[in-house]
Symmetry: D2
Subunit: 244 residues, 4 copies
Amino acid sequence: MSTIRLTVWNEFRHEKAKPEIAAIYPTGIHGAIAECLKKEKGLEVRTATLDESDQGLPDEVLDSTDVLMWWGHGAHGEVEDSLVDRIQARILDGMGLICLHSAHFSKIFKRMMGTTCNLKWREIGEKERIWVIEPGHPIAEGLGEYIQIPHAEMYGERFDIPDPDTLVFVSWFPGGEIFRSGCCYHRGRGKIFYFRPGHETYPIFHNPEVLKVLANAVNWAAPVNGPAPTFGNYKPLETVPVAE
Amino acid sequence: MSTIRLTVWNEFRHEKAKPEIAAIYPTGIHGAIAECLKKEKGLEVRTATLDESDQGLPDEVLDSTDVLMWWGHGAHGEVEDSLVDRIQARILDGMGLICLHSAHFSKIFKRMMGTTCNLKWREIGEKERIWVIEPGHPIAEGLGEYIQIPHAEMYGERFDIPDPDTLVFVSWFPGGEIFRSGCCYHRGRGKIFYFRPGHETYPIFHNPEVLKVLANAVNWAAPVNGPAPTFGNYKPLETVPVAE
Amino acid sequence: MSTIRLTVWNEFRHEKAKPEIAAIYPTGIHGAIAECLKKEKGLEVRTATLDESDQGLPDEVLDSTDVLMWWGHGAHGEVEDSLVDRIQARILDGMGLICLHSAHFSKIFKRMMGTTCNLKWREIGEKERIWVIEPGHPIAEGLGEYIQIPHAEMYGERFDIPDPDTLVFVSWFPGGEIFRSGCCYHRGRGKIFYFRPGHETYPIFHNPEVLKVLANAVNWAAPVNGPAPTFGNYKPLETVPVAE
Amino acid sequence: MSTIRLTVWNEFRHEKAKPEIAAIYPTGIHGAIAECLKKEKGLEVRTATLDESDQGLPDEVLDSTDVLMWWGHGAHGEVEDSLVDRIQARILDGMGLICLHSAHFSKIFKRMMGTTCNLKWREIGEKERIWVIEPGHPIAEGLGEYIQIPHAEMYGERFDIPDPDTLVFVSWFPGGEIFRSGCCYHRGRGKIFYFRPGHETYPIFHNPEVLKVLANAVNWAAPVNGPAPTFGNYKPLETVPVAE
């Protein structure tokens, strides 16, 4: 199999506006993720950000992207609908999409889910335990029974998403909440993975287990060379008297 | 349980434009369905059509609708996006949606699925056998192993939809195709059922078994009085030292 | 629809051996459940226990049971394999099965799942919060966002079960665990619901919300009059040249 | 990743008893499959048959098998229950299982499913079209929209199995039937794939597309190095006042 081509997209605003976030992610969240996945996981990685031309994703980039990873938080509304249209079309044609944490509210995730993708949240730096629910799934490769994150923003159910095709992770928070944290979907010829952990004010994207999940998810979400369906008017088998 | 309030929506164009269709459905497809479900199945039924004011679905109608049944074919593009927004919000808040046949391409179905909902088709009046795949599902109540329809438009896979939460029916056509014909989805607090059979040039909505499925589907899709989730910032349990 | 005939089965040993359990459930766990579901929920309820003849479930009882509810804990091994065979056959023919708490390790549940059904546990009387994950499901009818139980035995993931057809509840425990607490399955023409809460040393089966879930689950799991599939050699349509 | 170790098991009776079957599969069905998957697909392949000692699968073989492929037809009843127990335990611990055609009635498949696995059948050498339903699934890699087999034994729904975690293929037969032909399941840490095509009197296991599916399925079903869950009594987090 040829090398998987990953594009990590980030709205890249927090890191420029707040020194305490820049201190954690000096090259941006996208930079931290891209660096690890390129050096340690053998992927071909590009990055793209909101303020670049074509919001970072002109056709030539999307067309050569196998898996798109998405971080957004404060600027979801600035992403152009025409870009969302183009990403949706690419996913349905096979490109993988991985949405991180606050990307639950990104236009592209809501478009693909058909629901509000709303949830509960709380930001007091509490602990998170991410339990592996489906230990035979490739996204759980190399993990222990759970990943524990010392300080995280809480997300709690009801998470308004369609029932995942496969639920890989469920999170626990000390304040009384649980959350479906690792959700796999087939959509068209493409695959989507939502992964909850990650917040701009905590070094979660430096956590080796979190990065392991991201690498596993890229491998899972990469396109397979399956059939390209044809649509429209279709001829019957010649041998069958369809209208006897 | 109080009586279920069903609204049957129809774009209602074919029946006015083509005498041969009007001959089959003199009061419209919506009229045929509504009449049966009201008289025989004990539902409270209204109808609504595209050319009425607010495209038939002002807020006061949607707000008092438990299940919305949708027929569209040639005028999908005329349905206003703002109406699609309002229907989506109602579904996520609990209203059931039943999409019939060519409504696979309606704006509201595509919105809820997140995919193209495209498929293969052929119109030569061939036979259809609709097999029950999940015989313990309430939508299969009162049916035999299959429903056979003498003349139908063919729809064939690949049907570009998300994997249904429950697949109740799969159709067979003599020309060589199969189709996932009865597809159940939970979305938000609401439920969606797609049912393939039905075509404006065949009397399929006079078929007692098809009407039985529609009545079953309305019962299945009706709102349950489940919890209304709260979203947003959320307090922890008082007794837990979340940030030790 | 005619009245649903529920049989509540209990191994009924704890209540006879331990006065502190008898104090909570003077007529047995089965007695407490049966009394409520009969008086308040309008079901036709019988009870059956391990030490009765035919272990409480002769053919004439099973044959007239729409839904079987199962409590077992210390005596799973005493249930005869031939009884498990008979219950499995009835489920596949449409009878509902509801397994409570420690019945995760019952022979019949393991038989139907094909897995070990093993889990983590801890018994220190901690709090449980049972979150509703699928608020549009009929088993969630009449509930709030969660059920809170002041003192419960903890069950934790990995729960070795097949991915449920629908996951209705997920539990939270203060010690760091989560658990898929309300799991729906179609098997054959029948339906199975596993519900986690309930322990012989806590008055959980006197909790009105827990009893509400049990009543909802009985309604959901009751047989529908769907098709009885035929198996074996099968004739083709006459009009089709199958071996051209 | 190290080479996947596949064991192809065959009851290997037809081929010895009937010259016309031996003419198609001179080294047995297992031999035909093993040869292709070894030479062309780079797998490490062993074979095992019913009449060998320990019915071909002593512990040392099972313990060094990543994926077990199973063909059985006339001698299901001769497979010892203790062997079924050992295979089930290996699957739950991560080994993949691929059941071919008439292995729907094997003891191990029925054990893993919890249902009768019964179906309709007809043997008149009719055509089969196997449609790809989920084109983004790795088992569909390298295929067209359907596989067409000129002469096959028909299997028809209702197929009494649990709803697959992923449904990859659905078959069409000219006589009026459809069938869920490619069914994926997670069970424990292991994965199971049922694949319908294949019959001892047709050269289906020489068909390159069928063999492509088998190779894809082996890759999908191979164990991932996911977590090995722990079960039993479990300690809480120290920081949490569980029984306040």
